[in-house]
């Protein structure tokens, strides 16, 4: 893994790589997503949950990506803080709104699912609350960056916050095990293999990959945008001075 930052740390190389990688991930995401949705909607109704089981294919991957994006945000922030790398900072900044979006999606779909399943939109249990906290961290990160108008300072303050917020990730993952929760535990990564029939497992798996590819594509696009914005600002500042 150490080669990846080393390889991508050169902005020129990154721009060249992402020029084709971003659209390619987009295409992969679209194909996998279509396949996942097809299998998902042709799967039989669950004997317990009925048709609402299909929310799973939206909800579960969104929850995964919510956490994965935060891991990316924290990782990029670490690189930005320790190695003072501008590209890593751009990557962190670009990841935050995407992660917030996935978290929001997980919250909304979970809540939509909770109505038929639990009879309520929302309960204050550890899993749900820790996801809400994750969402709050994304918001706090974006708010912090937006309110420090010195770019360098904002970048560092944001990175510190992102790393502090990383303590929440294990809480999200293990909350169902640490506290008895309405929310079900992990059935996919349970001991002794996934406890889920293949008709559901296949579309879930496909959707998971599709979400990941979509995240990758959007992330690259946003980093590229961020790089362009900073270059343009530097050029404008130069022009204003001369």
């Amino acid at each position: 893994m150490t080669w990846a930052p080393a390889f991508l740390s050169n902005p020129e190389r990154f721009m060249a790589f992402s020029r084709w990688a971003a659209p390619m991930f987009g295409v992969i995401a679209a194909l996998l997503g279509l396949a996942g949705l097809w299998f998902g909607f042709t799967a039989p109704d669950d004997y317990q949950q009925g048709a609402t089981v299909r929310i799973m294919f939206i909800h579960v991957p969104a929850s995964w990506l919510a956490m994965f994006a935060y891991a990316c945000l924290a990782g990029a922030s670490f690189l930005a803080l320790v190695f003072r790398h501008a590209l890593a900072d751009a990557a962190a900044q670009a990841a935050a709104p995407l992660g917030a979006g996935f978290t929001f999606l997980a919250l909304v779909t979970g809540s939509l699912w909770g109505r038929p399943m639990w009879g309520t939109w929302w309960v204050w249990d550890a899993r749900l609350t820790s996801v809400l906290v994750l969402f709050l961290f994304y918001l706090a990160y974006m708010a912090l960056r937006a309110s420090l108008d010195d770019e360098v300072k904002g970048a560092r303050a944001g990175a510190i916050l992102a790393l502090v917020g990383a303590v929440n990730l294990p809480i999200v993952v293990w909350s169902v095990e640490w506290w008895n929760s309405l929310h079900q535990g992990s059935s996919l990564f349970a001991k002794g293999g996934p406890a889920m029939p293949p008709v559901y497992l296949t579309p879930l798996f496909l959707m998971g990959l599709a979400y990941t590819a979509a995240f990758g594509s959007l992330w690259l696009v946003r980093i590229r945008g961020e790089v362009w914005r900073r270059r343009a600002e530097a050029a404008m500042a130069r022009a204003a001075r001369s």
Partner: protein, 221 residues
């Protein structure tokens, strides 16, 4: 070490004057204990059910609202410059500030919390647990709140930002402490929640100063 204790004494004195101190915390809880029954009606049952939780939330809110200027004054009047120029690492300086805040505000609030809870109808036997929970929780709140205060230094919307940053960090200790109190009130074992709270407080004590020092250095430069 004499530097650390001198700073601790100063910070405690400042926080005491700034709105901490026993009278204030007693006043604060007296407020909660008088206002809550007034606002939700005096039926003893209703009250007793929420006594512990209310005392606990009041503690978190008090920390949240009193912490937002932990570093700001020093930042604006130049004291933070001088604090940074010292053999004492900025991490310890930040820790001393949070500890001072805790001594001046958290500890008196922790002393007052059981009284308020009992006043609202919680069983007297719970008082010691409320006290130590509040003590540990207050420590966690102070160190976590300090992170928010340090990060929002120099930001245009300081107070707002502190609250937004600190809120997510406050949720875990509130869950742990509230869970322990709730469990104990219903006769379940309270140690797991309490131990988690202590673990969180220790983690905040260990990691908080690092984050605060980094944030302060960033704001100064």
């Amino acid at each position: 070490m004499s530097r650390f204790s001198a700073l601790l004494a100063r910070e405690t004195a400042l926080a005491w004057g700034r709105g901490g101190g026993p009278t204030v915390s007693v006043g604060f809880y007296a407020g909660v204990a008088t206002l809550l029954p007034l606002a939700i009606g005096p039926e003893a049952q209703r009250l007793a059910a929420i006594a512990l939780g209310a005392a606990w939330v009041a503690l978190a809110l008090a920390s949240l609202l009193s912490l937002d200027r932990l570093f700001e004054r020093d930042y604006e009047d130049g004291a933070l410059d001088l604090l940074a120029l010292s053999p004492l690492p900025l991490e310890l300086t930040a820790a001393a500030k949070c500890l001072g805040q805790w001594i001046a505000t958290g500890a008196p609030l922790a002393l007052a919390a059981p009284i308020a809870a009992i006043g609202l109808g919680a069983p007297v036997s719970l008082a010691p647990l409320v006290f130590i929970t509040a003590l540990a929780g207050g420590l966690a709140f102070a160190f976590v709140g300090g992170i928010g205060a340090a990060l929002s230094l120099g930001a245009r919307r300081g107070g707002l930002l502190t609250a937004v940053i600190v809120l997510p960090l406050l949720v875990p200790p509130v869950i742990f402490g509230g869970g322990a109190l709730d469990a104990s009130a219903s006769g379940l074992p309270w140690t797991p929640g309490f131990l988690l709270l202590c673990a969180y407080a220790v983690a905040a004590l260990a990691l908080g100063p690092i984050a605060m020092a980094a944030a302060c250095r960033n704001a100064l430069s």
